[in-house]
Structures are given as C-alpha cells and as structure tokens.
Symmetry: C2
Subunit: 434 residues, 2 copies
Amino acid sequence: AKRLYSASASAGLRINADRLQETIHHTCQWGAAHRYGSGPTETGMSRLSLSDDDAQVRRWFAEETKKLGCSLVVDELGNMFASRRGSLPKPTPMIAMGSHLDTQPRGGRYDGILGVVAAVEVLRTLAENGYSTHHDVGIVNWTNEEGARFPKSMMASGVWAGKIPLKQAYSLPDIFDPSATVKSELQRLGYIGDIACSSTGYALGAHFELHIEQGPILEESGKKIGVVQGGQAYRWFTVTVSGRDAHTGTTPFKSRSDPLLAASKMIVSSNAIAKKLGALASTGVFKIPPSSSTNTIASNVTFTLDIRHPDDAVVDEVQRLCTESFQAIAEEDGRGVKVDMSLDTDSPATKFDPDCIKMVEKAATKLVGADGWLHITSGAGHDSVNTSSRCPTTMIFVPCKDGVSHHPEEYCSPEDCALGAQTLLESVINYDKF
Amino acid sequence: AKRLYSASASAGLRINADRLQETIHHTCQWGAAHRYGSGPTETGMSRLSLSDDDAQVRRWFAEETKKLGCSLVVDELGNMFASRRGSLPKPTPMIAMGSHLDTQPRGGRYDGILGVVAAVEVLRTLAENGYSTHHDVGIVNWTNEEGARFPKSMMASGVWAGKIPLKQAYSLPDIFDPSATVKSELQRLGYIGDIACSSTGYALGAHFELHIEQGPILEESGKKIGVVQGGQAYRWFTVTVSGRDAHTGTTPFKSRSDPLLAASKMIVSSNAIAKKLGALASTGVFKIPPSSSTNTIASNVTFTLDIRHPDDAVVDEVQRLCTESFQAIAEEDGRGVKVDMSLDTDSPATKFDPDCIKMVEKAATKLVGADGWLHITSGAGHDSVNTSSRCPTTMIFVPCKDGVSHHPEEYCSPEDCALGAQTLLESVINYDKF
Ligand SMILES: NC(=O)NCCC(=O)O
Ligand SMILES: NC(=O)NCCC(=O)O
C-alpha cells in the first residue's frame, strides 16, 4: 500500500489552472508597465526590488500565506519565508519552493513571479484538499534577485548562502538614486527582520524553483518541462580598448590607433573561440564617448564580454584564448591600441541535487511522459544556484514564447504555467515522501 | 625687368610672424574653452557658427579689414567678403583668401582660424609696404564650415557654389535647440546681407585657402608645406542592423539574431576591403539601445561608415564590395539579422586648378626648397572643395602636431603658421602677376 500511494503520491491533487492565472495577473497590478497590446494583461512589468510596488506585492504575499495557515518569517535582508507545518511531531527545515517577485525595469509577468505564485497555488491546493505533508513545506520570496535596482543579481540568496557579505548587500546603492541603499529601503518599508540572513538563521530542507526557461531550447525541441541539472558557469568582463581620436579623412590606416576597429575584431574573435569550444561568448554592451562623430575615430571603446559553459575549465580556456587573441589584435593595425580586461562577475558551475532531480523527473514523466521533458542546464543564474550550496536544490523549467525574457512581452502560456505548477506540486510531494 | 620682378615677386614682403600669433590668440578670446594647460593660449575653442562668440569675432574681422582699407560685403548667408582694390582701373573679381572662423564644439585654435587670420596678416603686410596688386585681393569668412551646430558642413560655400539650396541652409536647426535656425540666428545677429549667396552674387577670381593638414602626412615625412592637388571623394553611410534581444546565457548561438556581432563583422570587413583597394573605410559612431546590459543581446545596432579615396570609381567599388559583404554577414550567424545602409553624404573627388597649384609650388620651392614641400590630396572636405567648382582654387597645408584636429589640443607651431602665411602671400602675388 505504501508503494502504491507513493507512486501516485498526489493522485487527488490538481492545481487550479484558472486560479493560478488569475493570481499571477492580480499580483501584476503592482508594477504593471510597458503596454504592448490592448488586452488587460498585455503589459510588461517594472517592479524594482524594495520599491513601493514591491512592498505592495510583499503585503499580498504575507496575507495570502497567512490565510493558508502559514507562519511567516522575515530575515534581516527582507527575505520572506512562509511555512506550512507538516505532520511530523517536530518542525523540520521546510521543503521550500522559492523564487522572486522583483522584476527587471523592462521585465515581464513570469520571470520569478511564476515561481512564487505557483508555490502559493501549490499551498492552496494542499490546503483545500486537507493534504498534510510529513515535513514542513513552504515558500521563499527572495529579495533583489534581478540586481536591476541594486546592482548585484541573486543578492539575498547569495547572502543567505554565505557568498556575499551582508554589509556589502546592505550598502548597495540604487543605481539611479545613490542616496537610497538596500538597507535604507528595507528600513523605509519595515522589512528588516530579526532573523539572520543565513542558512543557519533560517535553514531549508530543500529548495525547488519553478521558472521560465528564458531560452528557446524547450520550445524548439517541442518539450514541455525542463528538468534542470545545474547552472552553467559564467564570467563577466569589461574590456576597455584605448586609442587616439583622429580624423577619418586625413589619417592613413598606418597612423591610426583605432579602438573601435580593434574592439570589433575582438568581438568577432571571442565569438569564433566560443563556437570552437562549444561555449558561449557574448557582448551586450558597447560604449564609445558621447562626442563621437562620423568623421572622427573614437579615442576609446568599452565592451562587455560574457563567457558561459557548464564546465568551469572550458570557461577558463575561452578566457585564456580571448586574452591571447585580444593582445594580438591590439597590435595588429596601425599604431596599435591598449587593451584592458577586468573581471566583474565570476559564477562557477553548479550541479543540482540528484535526489531532487529524480523527484522532478518522476513528476514530469507522470505528467507528460518520458518524451515530454528534457534534461537541461540553466544558462542563467538563479537563486537556486545559491541555495544549492546549502541545501538539496533543483529547478523546473517551462517554455517561454520565442525564448524571450527580460522583456515586456515575455510570455508563458496558461497551460505551461499550470503544468509547471503541477510538476512543482508533485515534485515537492515526491520529495516529502522520499 | 618684368621677369625679374615676377621671379622674386614678393622680394621685400615678409609677413610678421609675431603679429600673426598675437592676432590668432587675440581672436581666440571669443570662444576659448577646454583648458588643457596653464599657459594663456593653452585652451581649445568652442565657437559655434552664429553664436554670440562668432558674432564678436565677425565684428573684429569687419573692423580690422576696414582699417586696412577694404570694402566689406555680407551676403544673404552671412558670408563676409573683404576686398582690397588692385591697381587695374576697373574692379575685378577678387583673388580671395578664404576659410572660416567657426569651430567644432571641442575644437582648436587653428582649424579655419589660421586661414582667415593669416589672410588678414597678408593684407596687413601688403598695406604696410604700400604694395599694390593688379587685381583686387581679399578675404572670405565662410559661414558654418564645421556644420557642428547646424548639421551641414561647408554649408555657406556649398550654397555659394550652387550645391545646396539656400532654403535648405536657412532652415537647418540648431542640433540642440531646434527653435533656432540658420535664418533666425542670422537675423538675430543682423547678418543677412543684400547680396545673393552665389558665384554671380559675389564672384571670385580665385580662392586660396591656408589650412592645417588635420592629418600626420607632413609631420611624418618631415615636410613643411603641402601643395594640395584636390580633395578626395567621400561618402557617408548610416548602417542599421536589426536582430532580436535575447538572454546571453540561455540563448544558443544558432537561435540568436545578434546585430552587435554582425555589425562588428561588417566593420572588420569594410576595413579589409578598403585596405585591399588602398582606400579608407572608417566607423566613428556605434550606437546600441540605452537599455543594453551585459547579459542581453542588443535588438539593434547603428554604425556609420565613411569611405574615401581620391578616385570616385574606387569609392564606388568599396561601396559595392561592402554592400555585398554586409549582406553575406547578415545571413552568416544564427537566425540572421537585417541590414540597411543609407547614404548621408556624397562628396565627389575634386581636382584643384593647375595654375593655382603652380603658384603655390613656386612659392613653396622658394621658401623651403623643392624638397621641403609635398604634393598632397586633402583627406577632408573644405570650403575650397566647393569654390573650386566656380573659380580657380587651391589650398596650402601646414603640419599640425600629431595630425590632431577637432580637438582642444590641436596645434600648429608659430613657425609653421608663419611659413603658411608667407606661402599664402607669395602664392597670391604669384597669381596676381600670372
Ligand atoms: N535569470 C537571470 O537572468 N539571472 C541573471 C544572471 C545571468 O545572466 O545569468
Ligand atoms: N575639414 C573637415 O573636417 N571637414 C569636414 C568634412 C570631412 O570629414 O572631410
């Protein structure tokens, strides 16, 4: 009987797809922005961390989880832990479903939001069915995942995991109004709790995160669920190339020191190197002085380089080959340029917990069949990358339209949202039984 | 006797090097900006066309030329023609020494200014020596050569030469305050004259322009004077590359439509094409949307392409090969990008007048010997490129430090300024005798 029960652990439990949709869009009243269509939900989001809109959605989160009988703890960095008691006599570190409610300034309605709202839907489903887990089960709303307002992504989960000093997080300034910091905004909103922000201050038994893929792999392969194996390593650089301004009409190539040409060659070269090694290398930012003009060679250029691969050693190798190649390019044309490459972010590869992964595989196979899901490595960083160093962790990905995220038109269909939430529910119940 | 006199036409005439320096820097009190050293003349200039500073230096120009007995005519576009009568019984279209007194917003003390102030020094030398030319000899101060405030370079000489419609010039807006136009600013300063701005409204017998080289060729070859054969052809394009924003961590290369990578390849390719054909191709401006970030592929990129060669056919060929190459690059990576190339400026090659050139060669040989000067083609556009379609024209180049211009630290040594002015004097006298 035990095995049978375990095999169809959540037999009677079905999340409510309509309620989930309704709730997602209900919470998006706080921070809705960037309308792109006439429908009531056809806007993006701008809900920056610790803004007034963030405070409103936090209030909603607190009220809803209390209605479900959860106890709510806020730590010293504003992380919100809502916990529902299990049937074991003593409270245990909860099996958490975590993600974030803050968004990019030009973000969408699913990145982070889906993970938290689906977790609320899971608790609602448990509650309305009177289903009792063995262990405590609950939700984490992590502060400042996006790092868009206070420039450090996955900030509060990073502090919780001991990777970022609390002081450093507290003193991060608003990038537009440096008079506001994480600490001053937490104080303003009354969100500095008594509990230490750490894995001992508030311990977690496990961490499951449902998230949109933010890439095109599921959609292109026709799969419905991504069972996430870990996060790839990534390293961010700022590359500065310095030359000398010169007139484009009067300065022969051999007399030039042209940083824009050199930077272009470096970008092309980094792409070729990454391709050859099966890695990614990308440039998102490219800056020249504002006084630039058609007939003036710019004096300097700055661009970013983002190198990624599931294997740290490959990232090392791409970096080494890029450094070598950039040096050679710097000497190639005219009088040469100077190049400087500085490391901004270093996020090593993460492997998620095999047991957690198995629980998701089992849930996914039951829901969409063995052919309906995919093993996938997260291309992007997530709070789960931080929690995985302190507790068993994995993630569940659902497709998003055209792989687009960090964009007002980011979209995950109601069916895929519901399937993700159901997978989350069943994975947590599997893990609770396990 | 005639031949002897002609061979040493200006025997007794020496320009005053100190007075020339003093006058250059005296006039730079109006618009001095961008201090780079502690010396009294160690600033650049910001004397935008038809600004209050420009009005002040125009007043100075009017007063000084009147003191020298010149008659002053202002045409409907504010061009100032100061003319000194020759000894022939009837006035003739004057042999003009022309350049401009406006500067770039971050310009220097020599570009344009040297040509006008040296011309004043030439007239002063003629006057103090009681030297009478046969033909009328004078100076033109052309309005808005730089095109920095009202975005059309060599504007008023272009209208004078019939290349730009007067109406179009009048309606050019200040790039920072579109409520001010060329016409409204001319009116405000009282600089709309009665004379038509055209080569019949105010005819010129010839046009000699002394100018800093704005490039490194003279300096690098150790020559003192450039005898300018003409202006190279140039064509300016805006290239727009459109793709789709995507997450750098989650989007495989094959699913990307990356305009920044494609634009980089295009810039590298245009450089290679120009090199192969002995032409120039340069990118000075590179723009991506302001919301760019390290982990987002930009949705679109705009860059400028400036193609130059002394031969129009080579510019054609570089353009053709770039267009072809850009199309191929657009399809090369991932899902491809869209590319659009629009023509902004088309300035055909110009050949200066063989007689004018001979007069300058003769003067230069006398002053620095046959080895001291160089035939040179102007890499940049100048008012002389416009005048040469309507009257015999050439230019005299002097070296500038490191080839730098359009920069506060633009510098031409007092010796080189003086040598340029002496060459201008002797060239004009040679032409007058010719
Ligand atoms: N999910 C996400 O966009 N994280 C930000 C860090 C990264 O670029 O991977
Ligand atoms: N002299 C000068 O900079 N002219 C502007 C047009 C050009 O770039 O050639």
